[in-house]
């Protein structure tokens, strides 16, 4: 197994696991949203890495490319990730607005304090 061949994938795994760690281990809700965003972006990076072909160009057809018969990167993952980024920000905003309501109701955004209040 060549290191250069799958370096991108390993970097993605490291990012993904960092996001997962923040999600599990940190009690602060805003920090959890940050972890979720890191996780999300690592998935984007995984898809875009898979779409890449060495020596290929961006998937825009032009006069020059039709003559020289260039390779193109795979446009399909680009489309999926493009929409996923904008959907991601909308869902993040929804999560953040829930956090604001939680802060309003409990006056804290630390998970354990909320649990303590619920237990009472």
């Amino acid at each position: 197994m060549n290191v250069a061949e799958s370096f991108n994938y390993w970097a993605v795994m490291i990012l993904m696991m960092s996001g997962l760690y923040i999600l599990i281990a940190q009690g602060n809700l805003v920090k959890k949203v940050i972890g979720l965003t890191i996780f999300q972006t690592s998935v984007f990076i995984l898809y875009i890495s898979m779409a890449n072909i060495t020596g290929a160009s961006a998937p825009v057809i032009s006069e020059a490319s039709s003559q020289t018969n260039l390779l193109f990167s795979n446009p399909l993952p680009h489309v999926m990730i493009l929409t996923a980024i904008v959907v991601g920000i909308s869902t993040t905003a929804l999560a953040l607005s829930l956090i604001i309501r939680i802060k309003r109701a409990y006056d804290t955004i630390e998970e354990d304090e909320i649990h303590d209040m619920d237990a009472q």
Binding site: M17, I53, L82
Partner: protein
């Protein structure tokens, strides 16, 4: 790496700023990987809009993070175990950059070889997004719209409360004393908007499209709000107009599909929109991208207004 600093930092403000750095890195990475459309979107969304939303949440919840009581060892074990499994999975993946990997064998080669002849759109990402994968894109647009509706219902403030409340509140226009920022952004905003329109309507030939243009346009509007205050923004637009536009974009997309259905063809089949199929595809993609752009702009801007408006309403002295 940035991410490890984010984990260790207790100060939420600093970690959000680092998130911006992380967004910039990933946008540059996408550009490097030939995914120019994705890079544009990430640059507008990941760096500008998401950071602003996180920061405005922070202004309400406070920036200090409490030291958590539970021990992170269990989490570390889970994370390492899952990570090891995933890395083990990568041994079966095709090598990075290989042209023969399975991902490139299925429909992608069809799009690359045939779509220019069928749609006449040079940017493959646009034609796949709006035409071949029109159903997916419509679904994503509805998700964005729904998220917007959810935020509005969670953080609703009445128009009247916003308008009466802004004049005395210093939070509304925090930049009034920063003359350089105000003047520079005043000069930049028209060009950002113009660039967004270029990105919107040039998507047939170069990188761009409704999602990117919507995000750029929304960030121009948000910049305006940051500089001149919510009051000034609500003088030129109102929340009901924004809601109307958010719905209009979705309707434009869905309606384009229904027009082709009325002509007894498949839903979202643009070939029948004009006498020549290629012209029809052009028209269809243009309309659909316009719908996407309108909805994304309206929803993202509405998100920002909901957040700031809610915050202002709470801080108002009773």
């Amino acid at each position: 790496m940035t991410v490890f600093v984010i984990i260790s930092l207790r100060d939420l403000f600093a970690s959000i700023i680092l998130m911006g750095v992380y967004g910039l890195f990933s946008a540059s990475f996408f550009a490097l990987m030939d995914a120019v459309d994705v890079a544009l979107t990430e640059a507008a969304v990941g760096i500008a809009v998401s950071i602003l939303l996180l920061l405005s949440t922070l202004s309400f919840t406070g920036r200090a993070e409490k030291k958590s009581r539970q021990k992170p060892f269990l989490a570390l074990i889970i994370v390492f175990f899952t990570g090891a499994l995933l890395v083990y999975g990568t041994f079966d993946l095709p090598p990075f950059g290989s042209a023969t990997s399975p991902a490139h064998q299925h429909v992608a080669s069809y799009y690359i070889n045939e779509s220019y002849g069928e749609t006449g759109v040079a940017n493959l990402v646009s034609s796949v997004l709006a035409s071949y994968r029109g159903f997916d894109t419509l679904g994503e647009l509805v998700v964005i719209f729904t998220a917007g509706v959810g935020v509005i219902s969670l953080l609703s403030t009445s128009q009247k409360a916003l308008k009466t409340n802004g004049t005395t509140n210093k939070l509304v226009a925090p930049m009034t004393t920063h003359h350089i920022l105000r003047i520079v952004s005043k000069m930049l905003i028209p060009f950002i908007m113009l660039y967004a329109l270029y990105v919107q309507f040039h998507s047939d030939f170069g990188p761009g499209g409704g999602f990117q243009a919507g995000a750029i346009f929304a960030s121009a509007l948000i910049l305006y709000t940051l500089m001149f205050g919510l009051q000034a923004t609500l003088a030129i637009t109102s929340q009901s107009w924004l809601k109307f536009f958010a719905a209009l974009g979705v309707l434009l997309f869905a309606g384009t599909g229904i027009i082709s259905m009325l002509q007894q063809h498949n839903y979202l089949n643009y070939n029948v929109l004009a006498s020549d199929p290629i012209q029809g595809q052009h028209l269809g993609i243009l309309l659909v991208e316009l719908g996407v752009g309108i909805t994304v702009t309206a929803v993202l801007f509405q998100l920002f207004i909901s957040f700031t408006g809610y915050m202002l309403n709470i801080r108002r002295p009773a």
